[in-house]
Amino acid sequence: METKIKEILSEIQPDYIFSDEKNFIDEGYLDSFDIVTLVSELENTFSIIISAMDIIPENFVSINSICALVKKSRKVEKR
């Protein structure tokens, strides 16, 4: 999952290297429109629906936080 998420991020913002040492929001790697695109790509790639209430900057600050969001959205889907 991590590899796929890194691929998606690099597609959206090819100018940056997305590593876990960086905070993607504070560093300005992702803006709100990048997040919109990312949400759509994650939903299509992992066949999930991300709740609107989870589309907050804190869930997109790192690879780990994005992974956690995908996992959470998968659980909600299964219910």
């Binding site: 090819p14 803006d31 695109t37 949400v39």
Partner: protein
Amino acid sequence: MNATISGIKIRGICAAVPSAIYKFEDELKNFPFSEKSSRRLARVMGFNEHRITDKGTTPCDLASYIIDYMEYKRYISKKCVKAYIVVAQMADHPVPGNSKVIHGQCLFQHDVFCLDIYENCIGFITGLYIASGILKNSSFDEILLITTDAGSCYANKSDRNIYPLCGDAAAVTVLKKTDNQDDILHFAFKFQGENRDALITPAGGMRLPHSAETAKIFKDKMGNFRCLDNLHMDGTAVFQFVMKEVPPLIDELCNYAQIDKKSIDYYLSHQPNRFMLQKLSQLINVPQEKFFNNIVEHFGNSSCVTIPLNIVYNLNNIIKEDSFSVCYSAFGAGLSLASCLDTLGPLDFCDLIEHPGNGSTIYKPKEV
């Protein structure tokens, strides 16, 4: 704030969009981002094409053209109009107001009542509330609610966050008095003025008058080029506001009106962008076929006109024959929220026409 007004019904709606179509594909080169990235965003947001007036056409021209069309079709008679209100965020002049310009253009009688309301995205619902209240307490039987917008000129053409979404349009909604006390409109409004900076045109008013300084273009932290005279949106803040506040407002309104949410046939929402509407419909738990999100991709976001445009574009084929339980909902600058429950239809008319440009106020037959 909640309110209920009974004995009032929408008799018909006509809307007009500029005939000039601007395609996102042609505007890609204006944005300071790669074409691939812009196309990807376009798919999600619904950027496709939008309608924008030429420089010679104002919000009043759009509205007067519709009124002339309505007289041509015999939906109304100008000399019989007794009252109308005009809702807009753009004015033909600082003085006098749009309603007086339209009065002169349409040659309405001298004894009409006319009023201007400055309002943004919730303008249709605000106008519906005020027009219904006026009609309920007056001796005349009908009132025109004119919503018109030519807000695209507020946006910088290089601002990918705003410009592709912009659209110009106008609509005239005719409200009538009825003897049926089941013709009920239920309203709800909420405001968060403390968050007004999230969607704002910083300069051009008295707080920061337009100047050479405010017209200077700068690159914002999202990489877009704009100036203080342009509309600016904090996308994250507006998105969160809508997602947190709109679903409970609709729930509260349904409880207040004692209407089962499941009995609502259509949710006729203001149309900011496709992504936000998809997420909102998921939160409200409404299937896509009850919650249209196709106005931005065909016409752009025309602020207070998107709801009547939504009706004439999406319900035209059925609303003249039948009635439906509907929930209007709007949100935007302010920050503001409004919702209204109505039984819409059967309408006497529900038309969408094109405005030919050049400031025309006289209809010449050619329907969309």
